[in-house]
């Protein structure tokens, strides 16, 4: 649901507005790396290295940046265990788990339509 306010004031929840908080959150989160991190974490608590190995092609920098962004938005919790060296683990919070349902929906959608999409790409590129 995209809400549209007509009275001219800024509505923080209005995604159609360039300066809304909702748009800012959307800009942060709607990217493939964030989605793949959310999907991979699922209900598990995982270390950085495990996440990095599970998501082929993600760079150290991209994983660090996206985990930090997800932590800032309260979607991922980060726990530092006082071992030597410190063990750092990540898990989805309640809002993160709620978003995961949406992300999983997109993964399922990709699996369902991959054949149609491939055919469409071939026609378009011909």
């Amino acid at each position: 649901m995209v809400t549209k306010q007509l009275n001219g004031s800024v509505d923080d929840a209005d995604l159609t507005r360039a300066d809304s908080l909702a748009r800012e959150i959307f800009s942060d989160i709607a990217n493939k790396w964030a989605f793949l991190i959310i999907e991979t974490l699922g209900e598990e608590t995982l270390r950085f290295s495990v996440l990095r190995n599970a998501i082929e092609g993600i760079s150290h920098k991209m994983l660090t940046q996206n985990l930090r962004m997800l932590e800032r938005n309260g979607l991922v919790g980060r726990t530092v265990h006082p071992t030597v060296p410190p063990r750092v683990e990540y898990r989805l919070t309640a809002p993160g788990l709620a978003l995961r349902q949406t992300v999983s929906g997109m993964c399922d959608w990709t699996h369902t339509y991959i054949g149609q999409i491939e055919a469409s790409r071939r026609r378009f590129d011909d």
Copy 2:
């Protein structure tokens, strides 16, 4: 659902693989502009200028690029009416409408959690 193949061959539907078709599709579609276009189109048939006005902040170039990408992947249909000047209209296809359910879920999620996210951002930035 992220599937992981263990036999070393490339599975096109395996999002965890950097070289899978599923990852390529995900890379194309998981971005805020594509999501906002899908959400705004909904079940309507809209002209470029109407879309552009509805999504504040989207540039002509970004809208053109994303519509083309969505058309290539078969999510958006484009109709050119032979008027002078030609009238070009866009609508979601069946796969596009199916993905819209997921995108709407993310919009709803943003509305539900916006307060919690804002509070988390404040704590993080302090």
